[in-house]
Amino acid sequence: TSALTQGLERIPDQLGYLVLSEGAVLASSGDLENDEQAASAISELVSTACGFRLHPGMNIPFKRLSGEPPSLPWCTLAGKHSFLLGLLGFSST
């Protein structure tokens, strides 16, 4: 797990992160520490977004999900893990 989180710790302006695998929290820190509510709400958001296609049969057209203004943590999916990163300007409420 530290391999997963080390890279996240070093990202400049980060205020917290969450790493999920199949719905279970593997690691969390900062503003997102133990925030299971945010984790499940955002997971559903990402899952919905993954259903968007501009054309049928197209691959998912995005690598990272972010909000504007950045009150949403930045999200990406890699392998079996979901990564949520709270950045400056982000508030977990």
Binding site: E22, S47, C50, F52, I60, E68, L77, A78, H81
Partner: protein, 161 residues
């Protein structure tokens, strides 16, 4: 077009399952043509092509017309209601056990193999965001101008003598 889960594919198996009627359609209302029962069956066997054509047009129209005024509410008796209700509940009970599979979130795909790199990279340029917001506003405005333009009566009287 680009809506969540929409596609131009034909009905998936799941869609077909969902739209299947719960009960086998029992004898449909046969009062489509009140009193004007098609009697082309009694024509002499030596039909002309024209007669056959007219008959097929008549038959097609008869199957496509929904005669609103003939919709008799003579309907069903109490015990038939109860029977139907019971049949529906049994069918639903059988189906609801197989409906749970869509309630779980489908497994999430993988977006990248470099999550740290993706998360550490630059945010979206503000000009891109502005452009997308402007396009979305145009789309919203266009959508809000869609309206139904009623041109004809929905229910008409056929002049059946």
């Amino acid at each position: 077009m680009g809506c969540c889960y929409s596609s131009e594919n034909e009905d998936s198996d799941q869609d077909r399952e969902e739209r299947k009627p719960l009960l086998d359609p029992s004898s449909p209302p046969t009062k489509a043509l009140n009193g004007a029962e098609p009697n082309y069956h009694s024509l002499p066997s030596a039909r002309t092509d024209e007669q056959a054509l007219l008959s097929s047009i008549l038959a097609k129209t008869a199957s496509n017309i929904i005669d609103v005024s003939a919709a008799d509410s003579q309907g069903m008796e109490q015990h038939e209601y109860m029977d139907r209700a019971r049949q529906y509940s049994t069918r639903l009970a059988v189906l609801s056990s197989s409906l749970t599979h869509w309630k779980k979130l489908p497994p999430l795909p993988s977006l990248t193999s470099q999550p740290h790199q993706v998360l550490a990279s630059e945010p979206i340029p503000f000009s891109d965001l502005q452009q997308v917001s402007r396009i979305a506003a145009y789309a919203y405005s266009a959508l809000s101008q869609i309206r139904v333009d009623a041109k004809e009566e929905l229910v008409v009287q056929f002049g059946i003598p």
